[in-house]
């Protein structure tokens, strides 16, 4: 017995025996810690979609999928531990759901030849696949979000934001600082006044920030928050009677968790999105039949149809589609991480494909290429209805200002390439 335990310990700790019979999707989730409320539904959605594929289709292309979950607690050190302990298990693609961990993993995954998909977070300039060969951030990134919000406001104001005042309430971290450059550029272009209002982690105390907003009276507030910061901000906005329809959150500030706490006062709050909301899609019938009713739902199984659950499901769907693409390209069913990268780079999501998957109009259609790892960057807007307790999509997925963003991406990725001596990877 002692011997057996010992060998098991060695085997698990060395993580030296890759199990190649499955398509392995590591899920660096966080079901604990200050950001658990956001981490749980995403991880559930991610796991449930693969469970459903296994039960309904027998995996992808005949190979079963396996989700390896590892708890990071949104902590970069644990994220590194998780990465090191799962990378030897045949992991195909990493999705850390944390901008901090993403920054750690960008060079590591590139060196280990494993792709990483940071959907709507991470390093925005990773959209330049020429420099970031193994990092993907389709279908939209932070800068698309910033520009999407400004475009939406432009539409509302008949095409001009001249003389308007827009404040950015942001999480004072790598994540929250991302949109500043874009918004500064856009403020020059469209002539609005731009103000930064930082909120320190975790953001439970925002009285002074909202006092500042009350004094400055901005016409619109854009928020880049995550975790408890969102709920507090929505509540504080309600307290100073800031009109909710002029308050727009990024997609990480637009889930049920963020608005329920403020009750009716949150009615009319808006958030950006790059995928559909609600559970009115055919795929949810399959999830119910093959996953929930079979008793295999991940977590407590109570998150189905919430915004972040849908995002996890969407991430899993995109990963599964990339696997199918890779299987077609390389003609093998049991693909490797390097082949997965090729699949992601050749990924093309169309209306027909999504409809066939039971997700009609769930997200924008986009194409990935070697030079463009970010897709076309189409962004939609959702609005919260407090009485119905539901989000609804109030605008179509609309293009963002790629002239401004493209230049910023090129600049930032060129700086990264120079700093790290990276050569162009696209021929």
């Amino acid at each position: 017995m002692k011997y057996k335990l010992g060998t098991m310990a060695v085997a698990t700790m060395m993580a030296a025996s890759p199990v190649m019979a499955d398509l392995v999707f590591p899920s660096l989730s966080y079901r604990t810690g200050p950001y658990a409320a956001g981490g749980i539904p995403f991880a559930d959605g991610y796991a449930d979609y693969f469970t459903m594929l296994n039960a309904r289709d027998g995996g992808i292309g005949g190979v079963m999928t396996k989700v390896l979950e590892c708890e990071t607690g949104y902590n970069t050190e644990k994220g590194v531990e998780c990465y090191e302990s799962t990378k030897g298990e045949g992991s195909l693609v990493y999705q850390p759901l944390s901008t901090g961990i993403t920054y750690q993993l960008i060079p590591k995954t590139t060196a280990d030849n494993i792709p990483m998909h940071t959907m709507g977070y991470g390093r925005t300039s990773a959209a330049n696949g020429d420099v970031f060969s193994h990092t993907f951030n389709y279908p939209a990134n932070y800068w698309n979000g910033a520009s999407g919000a400004v475009n939406y406001l432009l539409n509302e104001n008949g095409g001009s934001l001249e003389g308007k005042k827009i404040a950015l309430v942001y999480h004072n971290s790598a994540y929250g600082k991302e949109p500043i450059r874009t918004l500064t550029e856009l403020s020059k272009k469209h002539g609005f006044e731009f103000k930064e209002v930082p909120v320190d982690h975790p953001g439970q105390e925002q009285k002074s920030q909202w006092l500042q907003i009350r004094r400055d009276k901005p016409d619109y507030v854009i928020m880049y928050g995550w975790g408890v910061m969102n709920q507090v901000a929505v509540q504080e906005a309600a307290n100073i009677r800031f009109p909710m329809e002029n308050f727009i959150g990024i997609w990480w500030s637009g889930s049920e968790n963020d608005v329920l706490a403020a009750g009716d006062a949150a009615n009319g709050y808006k958030a950006l999105t790059f995928h559909g909301v609600g559970d009115d899609f055919p795929v949810f019938d399959d999830i119910k039949k093959h996953v929930v009713d079979a008793g295999n739902a991940a977590g407590a199984g109570d998150q189905i149809g919430t915004v972040l659950y849908n995002r996890g499901l969407y991430a899993a769907m995109l990963a599964a589609e990339a696997v199918k693409t890779a299987q077609e390209i390389h003609g093998v069913a049991d693909i490797t991480a390097a082949q997965m990268r090729d699949g992601m780079e050749a990924l093309s999501i169309t209306e027909e494909k999504m409809a066939a998957l039971g997700l009609p109009n769930f997200g924008p259609s986009f194409d990935v290429s070697c030079a463009n790892h970010g897709g076309e960057g189409y962004v939609g807007v959702t609005q919260w209805d407090a009485s119905a307790k539901s989000w609804s999509l109030i605008s179509d997925f609309a293009p963002s200002d790629m002239d401004v963003i493209g230049a910023l991406v090129a600049e930032d990725s060129a700086a990264y390439a120079a700093e790290n001596n990276i050569e162009s990877s696209c021929k």
């Binding site: 698990t12 810690g33 600082k177 930032d412």
Partner: protein
């Protein structure tokens, strides 16, 4: 039976005063060093290096540093996270070339330092900052000093988040270590061999431990301990409290700065100050020295090993062997670590180092009871 002086004859003062005067103990120490330096580099892989050995070695340096301040000199500090951040950011600035601006113009730019000297500079800058924040310790004591160092923690984190110069004006405010090599072997960056980063950290840990050991048993350490035990009495017998306290702050911060620099450059590769060097880091290192043993070099290592290895071990047992849900295991970790801290404080207030001492005493008598 073991750990006995019998048959061990010292014929010079140097032999009499060596760190491990008992032969058995000395050989055990050589064996540990031999395994660490000669054997482990050949069997190490990425997982062992990045999940266990690097954090252990780096936290051991931080614990050594804090132990000098808290355990030997009796000055309670909650600023460890902030001081580690100073080490990390100075190391980053020196390894990318410090740029000095005046009135919006680039005055001059230092050449990029070698990674080894960048890390030493991280320690030096932290020592200077540590002395500055140690100045209040001449007037305030105990809890009040803890609060003053807490201010250092929050101020430093705010500073590195606020002033873009420290992170070279990057869009995200993160600092990431570019690839640097020593003797042609990569030490930082993603493609480093596990043995190289391990040996690099091991070198710093061993040197720091030897320096700390010899300082604490020399004149400087005796002064620190005199201040710790009763500062007025120490002053009367001729210990200068200004020099004693400030040297303790300087040496302690130097070690903590080294560990912060290694933590950023070699272990993580990219950090964000609010996340990596928050107040939780200060508490973590404080728990390490409390559990390991205040005022003990061995205790610093034991505490670091305990708090680095325990969560990983619990995770492997819970998730990989028993297949429990990851969130249950993560919560269980908090329960177990918290419970063990309470148990230690009640059952063995002097920490693991005291257990080790008791075990040695027992071994001397073994197999006889008296």
């Amino acid at each position: 039976m073991f750990y006995r002086e019998a048959g061990d004859f010292n014929t010079s003062y140097a032999e009499d005063q060596q760190t491990f005067p008992i032969k058995f103990d000395r050989y055990r120490y050589y064996v540990v060093l031999f395994i660490a330096i000669v054997i482990i580099p050949f069997v190490i892989n990425d997982y062992w290096a990045n999940s266990l050995l690097l954090p252990f070695l780096i936290y051991a340096i931080a614990a050594l540093g804090l132990n000098i301040l808290v355990g030997y000199c009796g000055q309670v500090s909650l600023g460890t996270g902030g001081f580690m951040a100073v080490g990390a950011y100075s190391c980053y600035k020196f390894m990318t070339g410090v740029d000095i601006w005046w009135g919006g113009e680039l005055l001059f730019r230092l050449p990029e330092f070698n990674i080894f000297f960048s890390i030493i500079m991280g320690g030096v800058m932290t020592a200077i900052v540590g002395v500055l924040f140690g100045l209040p310790s001449l007037r305030i004591k105990g809890f009040y000093l803890a609060v003053a160092t807490l201010a250092a923690q929050f101020f430093l984190v705010w500073l590195f988040n606020r002033v873009a110069w420290f992170y070279n004006y990057s869009a995200s405010g993160q600092i990431s270590a570019p690839e640097r090599e020593l003797f042609g072997v990569l030490i930082t960056g993603p493609s480093t061999p596990a043995w190289a980063t391990y040996l690099f950290c091991l070198f710093f840990t061993v040197v720091c431990a030897i320096v700390a050991r010899n300082m604490t048993r020399g004149a400087a350490g005796r002064k620190w301990m005199a201040i710790r035990d009763m500062d007025i009495a120490a002053e009367i017998i001729g210990v200068n409290p200004l020099r004693a306290k400030l040297t303790a702050f300087a040496v302690s911060s130097f070690f903590i700065g080294i560990s912060g620099a290694l933590f950023f450059a070699v272990y993580l590769g990219a950090v964000e100050v609010g996340e990596a060097f928050s107040i939780t880091k200060s508490f973590l290192v404080l728990f390490m020295i409390i559990i390991g043993g205040l005022g003990s070099i061995f205790g610093s290592f034991a505490g670091a090993a305990f708090l680095v290895v325990l969560p990983v071990a619990l995770k492997i047992v819970g998730v990989d062997w028993f297949g429990w849900p990851t969130d249950i295991v993560a919560h269980l970790q908090l329960v177990v670590v918290g419970g063990l801290i309470v148990i230690f404080l009640i059952a063995e207030p002097h920490g693991i180092a005291q257990l080790w001492r008791v075990a040695k005493e027992k071994l001397r008598l073994w197999p006889f009871p008296h």
